[in-house]
Symmetry: C2
């Protein structure tokens, strides 16, 4: 019922009753209960249809969900209302390697600050995303390669104890997919892939409107698919992995090397006396026509496209959404991905396959995290 | 209720009522209706538990489902009872290129023959598998690359008209996966991949006990994933596809070339004055210690393993089942697949991942086809 109000907005009690197959008397009881809990409120009268005008109900405007998106190098916290509209958002740099005590402590501080600023008249639930595999049932991370100190740390419990509200934990890319499914490009698409290109590369898989997490929560771990027999050594210890060839981290590494080696005057100038260039710098240089920067992006797009071509043959999605910080490289990257994908996948799988940039952009993670916990609190929705 | 009887065997009406949440009076009505339809029958009394001994019901022993497994070069027809136990099975060579009229006509003849032999006291439904993409909803094949003349041919309607019973059509590999899920190795595994190595290579994907068919029915089409930039020209017109490098057809091609070129005395002798060697011949030569034959199998296993490694990172299945005719190559093939898979996938995804040969073997397709239509007739089960 709450999910129906989220999806359809304010409705008459009679309409709602029909939708959830409750009798007239039962719906009154149930709405009374939800009103007491602070989940719904009255919203004036419906337009008359000849008879007595019936009262409308809607989700309470005081409902608030918090999405916490913990990345390798950033902490984003967003507040949404019951309709998953973002009402506040903060972002700050972190280093995931500082460990769970420091990072989770900071996340709670940010939430407290948002509360002090009046953004949280209520706190109905918190969704949390982390950049590694998660045991969804247990609410902790499992062997996260880039998160030393986080293995099996009880993240969900930490928030539950500190904030005294329902909490759910998931992998950050799954949450970005969920955000795009509820509020972004993929609203009407039951089967799609969300590809996040950030420090590493990951993929959220949605089939039949459900996030596919796999047998132990590591589904979508495409950054470690081998694209060559050899290549730069990856963070996972092997060679040839996609993200060792192309990701925010590898762009930074390769661009910095080109700048230092003098191959690219443009990148050299951008580097100045800094330690390293970023993927963002590569984008700037590329837009200024630097051929080396463009080459890095094209090579990366081709490798990503090659991996996606295999996954498209395998999963036959109806759409691919590309997000994460490096997605800001935009058109030249997507053009290369598309070209490789259309060349290497079967025509049946690609003939109507759009490949598009995330609509929610940097907000996808926090909105998806709010959607996750909102589904649990509302006892409905396609996930988990 | 019928699915429960299939899964649990004979049960007392009271037990059944509790399982499907029906009142005592409603269950009597419903069982009466199912008995009239010929779906259930009485099966003696339950052991006394102090009170009145209640009557047991079970699936009618006269229930029969037919599974038709149309391959590129073979037509298999199986008959199962209501419990999906195989009670009859026939297999004969065909050429899928003869087109739908010839092949489907022959399938109906075979079913008529099985009926004449007394194997079909009833015909409660027919499941049909074809070696190409299928529009599951429409009951026809879609752009099947190796099936000229079959595009959008109304296969389901053909059988419905000829046999006057419920019919469902699916891709053959999806059906093999379904067979293994109901009656084989994967009985207790909600997420697994079924890899068929026959003339070509395909994959059935089961997630959460459901077959994943993708947005237009082509999910699992892994034979056309590129393993190299170049390679033998594939039936699809591109180069580098997995099945152009390794499949029943490519083993036949490569072994025949080795035999003719004189590189392998063993293969040369096996060839004799035949036109070509088969994958089966390669197995024979390999077991006789022919190093060239073993080399073909190892190279193929390595390429298959490389593709599967990517899919394991992506989908994180709990098991991989390998079937199809070429699976008969057995241990040397699986050893190479495993080695490549464990080397290239993330440890989290492979630490508890069994890779096993199909338990149902050549029966997987017909049993899966029977399971598909049985689920529809019983109005239950995890598929579709």
């Amino acid at each position: 019922m709450l999910a129906s109000l989220r999806f359809n907005g304010a409705q008459a009690a009679a309409e709602l009753a029909a939708q959830v197959s409750l009798s007239r008397s039962k719906i009154g009881q149930e709405l009374g209960r939800l009103q007491e809990l602070g989940f719904v409120e009255r919203a004036g009268k419906a337009a008359s249809q000849g008879g007595r005008r019936s009262g409308l109900v809607q989700l309470s405007r005081r409902l608030r969900f918090v999405g916490v998106d913990i990345g390798a190098t950033s902490l984003d916290v967003g507040v949404t209302d019951g309709l998953l509209e973002l009402v506040a958002h903060t972002s700050e740099p972190i280093d995931i390697k500082d460990g769970p005590d420091a990072i989770l402590g900071r996340a709670v501080e940010v939430i407290d600050k948002l509360r002090a600023e009046g953004h949280l008249p209520a706190l109905n639930g918190v969704g949390v995303g982390v950049p590694g595999p998660v045991s969804f049932r247990d609410g902790f991370t499992v062997s996260p390669p880039i998160m030393p100190g986080w293995d099996r740390y009880p993240v969900r419990e930490h928030f539950t104890q500190q904030l005294d509200c329902p909490v759910q934990l998931d992998n950050d890319v799954n949450l970005m997919a969920l955000g795009e499914m509820y509020c972004g490009l993929a609203r009407s698409v039951p089967d799609f892939l969300f590809v996040k290109i950030g420090t590493g590369i990951g993929c959220g898989i949605v089939t039949g409107n459900r996030v596919l997490r796999g047998s132990n929560g590591s589904a979508g771990d495409i950054g470690h698919i081998a694209v060559h027999d050899t290549g730069p050594v990856c963070g996972c210890g092997r060679t040839g992995c996609l993200e060792a060839w192309f990701s925010g981290a590898s762009l930074s590494r390769d661009a910095t090397a080109l700048a230092r080696g003098g191959e690219s005057p443009g990148l050299h100038e951008l580097l100045g006396d800094r330690d390293a260039l970023t993927a963002h710098d590569v984008g700037i240089a590329m837009r200024h026509g630097d051929p080396q920067a463009l080459g890095l992006v094209r090579d990366g797009g081709r490798r990503l496209g090659r991996v996606l071509a295999g996954l498209v043959n395998f999963a036959n999605p109806a759409m691919i959404v590309v997000g994460g910080g490096v997605a800001g490289l935009g058109h030249p990257l997507l053009a290369e991905v598309r070209s490789e994908l259309y060349r290497r996948s079967t025509p049946l799988a690609t003939s109507t396959l759009p490949i598009a940039l995330s609509e929610l952009g940097e907000h996808a993670g926090v909105v998806g995290a709010a959607a996750l916990i909102s589904d649990q609190v509302f006892g409905a929705g396609p996930t988990p």
